[in-house]
């Protein structure tokens, strides 16, 4: 009848949501490295982090959105549209850094547009972002005329290429970017009032309103962050491929959502940690990289990926249990 008694019942779900994502990652890493020794090569690990970074960035933004019990399906399209914008501007002679800056601001604006529709239009995030996903993608096609945007201005510019292809002390530059935004997202979510309000909004919107939280402003801000981070991903991808693809980022929303959920965040909102999302993104990265290393046929890769996601979330079921 006292408070220590709760600890008696060992709860697998609780265990997973505390330590689980990390444990799942470790198990996966151990398994893959036993099966293929080259997995733990420094080179491969660098590849891995590099491969993870864009999804991780999008997932950081998605985490805020999901914590409010929302969802953003348009991140992949925002990535493509902002990337195409930046590439277009570089071709028109703008210095790459400035173009990147404008590109991410564009991404933030697209995100804010989503947020405004959700906050003021009072429509479900799923359907709003499903619609804007289509709109932004169409706009990307119109802008690029369906062709990849590329040119010597991009191929020959060092400052352009550094973002997605550069190395600093032997580590891909984009990995630093991922880490920097992780730290910012972590602080924002766990150490500021903004983060508290995000949890509150997702936990009980009405109560948040009663507590005087400006829920509309908060929603807009959160989708702005999601758009911004997708656009950062878009810049990295554009630089990495030395071209802006009109269909870049297709399906990325699903990987980002999977990363967030694998990290123990509840789709019902109000529960989850930023660290979990980083781990979730790594799980997906290790899975993709590992399956390639193990030479699993691409048909079976889809099956394996689905089963791993399923297993992880079932262990994490505690979430919806109360």
């Amino acid at each position: 009848m006292n408070n220590t008694e709760t600890k008696k019942k060992f709860n697998m779900g609780e265990f997973y949501s505390k330590l689980g994502p990390l444990a799942a990652l470790l198990i996966l890493v151990i398994f893959v490295s036993i099966m293929n020794s080259s997995f733990l090569n420094v080179n491969n690990l660098m590849n891995l982090f590099q491969q993870v970074s864009v999804n991780a960035l999008i997932a950081f933004g998605m985490q805020f959105v999901i914590l409010t019990a929302g969802i953003d399906l348009s991140v992949g399209s925002i990535l493509a549209l902002s990337g195409a914008f930046a590439a277009q501007m570089i071709l028109m002679g703008m210095p790459p850094l400035l173009a990147f800056l404008i590109g991410v601001v564009m991404g933030a604006i697209f995100g804010a547009f989503n947020g405004a529709l959700i906050a003021y239009g009072k429509a479900a995030p799923f359907i709003v972002t499903l619609a804007t996903m289509s709109v932004f993608r169409g706009a990307t096609y119109v802008l690029t005329n369906g062709n990849p945007i590329t040119g010597p201005k991009m191929n020959n510019s060092l400052s352009f290429q550094f973002l997605g292809q550069g190395y600093l002390f032997g580590i891909p530059f984009q990995v630093y970017i991922m880490i920097i935004f992780y730290v910012i997202a972590y602080l924002l979510l766990h150490k500021t009032t903004f983060g508290r309000k995000t949890y509150a909004l997702g936990g009980n919107e009405k109560a948040a309103f009663v507590a005087g939280v400006n829920t509309k402003k908060l929603i807009i801000l959160i989708y702005t962050i999601a758009g911004f981070l997708s656009a950062v991903g878009g810049m990295i991808l554009t630089s990495q491929l030395a071209s802006a693809q009109p269909d870049a980022g297709t399906g990325y929303e699903m990987d980002a959502i999977a990363a967030v959920v694998l990290g123990g965040t509840s789709l019902a909102g109000g529960k989850g940690k930023m660290f979990g999302t980083l781990v979730g993104a790594l799980i997906i990265g290790v899975l993709n990289n590992g399956m390639n290393l193990l030479g699993i046929s691409s048909f079976y890769q889809q099956i394996v990926k689905g089963i791993v996601i399923l297993t992880a979330v079932l262990l994490d079921r505690k979430q919806s249990q109360n």
């Binding site: 590849n47 096609y141 990849p148 191929n155 292809q165 190395y167 030395a242 297709t250 691409s298």
Partner: protein
């Protein structure tokens, strides 16, 4: 310095290898299209016949995914990478990365616009589009109204084939509408149905792949509208035989795959491989089949 965008240290000397020791890594743009499934078959068959190991990845039409796969192939130290790029520009950094690691790259069906490739095995999509235009014009006569079913917006094959076709029909045929059916058979059917409503007087259809043509054929049924497409999948060729489709500019995916593997062997025999390896395309007509 600490910061770099990578520099080339590619070796020019080739250590010779027997065919059975050549480990082949493959990244295909997609495996949900029969054409590329057949490229894969061609690769597999040829490799099997020579006893070499193959590992194939499906990039699911995502350039960035393809990049990751090539990184992973480099990690696995395969002896040659056969890549069927999702996009000829976006593949360049990956090709350069392989160059740095000293792994030869063979481009298949689409080229790479940068980096060094041993050879590009390709059937020319622009040319295929032109051939299709030529055939359609022969069938329906000058200035007849025709429609075009486009592939997935932005996809390389869609862009190239469309480019060839559109250029060749200028002043020759009257293209009344272009609609995308995503390279998909079901979508080809419904889109064709809708086009027929809006333009009941068309005389011919160009579908950018066989799948859409097969769907379109279902919509057209026995109306006198000529259908031409590009690819040459088994389903497509069967339809030409039965007269549902009037002509296909057939590429030979299996041959393409085979040629790519052959080029790899040639490279490891220390022989010179020419910059391009043409995979033949040819027109298959229903009038010939009958």
């Amino acid at each position: 310095g600490a910061a770099s965008v990578g520099n080339n240290k590619s070796s020019s000397k080739v250590t010779k290898k027997a065919a059975k020791n050549v480990k082949i890594g493959v990244s295909l743009s997609t495996l949900s299209n029969p054409f590329f499934v057949n490229v894969k078959k061609g690769i597999d068959n040829e490799a099997k016949a020579n006893g070499s190991k193959v590992e194939t990845f499906d990039a699911q039409n995502d350039s960035s995914k393809q990049n990751n796969q090539i990184s992973d192939l480099i990690t696995k130290k395969v002896d040659v990478i056969i890549v069927n790029p999702v996009d000829s520009d976006a593949i360049v950094p990956s090709v350069k990365k392989a160059n740095q690691a000293g792994i030869p790259v063979i481009a298949c069906d689409r080229g790479s616009n940068g980096g060094k490739v041993v050879t590009t095995v390709a059937s020319d999509n622009v040319k295929a589009g032109k051939m299709a235009a030529q055939f359609l014009a022969d069938q329906v006569g000058s200035n007849a109204k025709v429609a075009e079913l486009e592939g997935t917006p932005g996809a390389d094959a869609a862009v190239q084939r469309g480019k060839g076709f559109d250029a060749a029909i200028k002043g020759n045929l009257d293209l009344v509408t272009k609609q995308s059916a995503n390279f998909d058979r079901a979508k080809g059917l419904s889109t064709m149905q809708n086009i027929l409503q809006a333009h009941s007087d068309i005389k011919g259809v160009f579908a950018q792949n066989d799948e859409m043509a097969l769907g379109a054929a279902k919509a057209i049924k026995n109306q006198d509208i000529k259908i031409v497409s590009i690819d040459g999948t088994p389903d497509g060729l069967a339809a030409v035989k039965s007269g549902q489709i009037d002509g296909i500019v057939a590429q030979q995916p299996k041959t393409e795959g085979k040629l790519a593997v052959k080029a790899a062997y040639k490279y490891y025999q220390g022989k010179k491989v020419s910059k391009t390896t043409a995979s033949p395309i040819h027109l298959v007509k229903s009038s010939d089949a009958k």
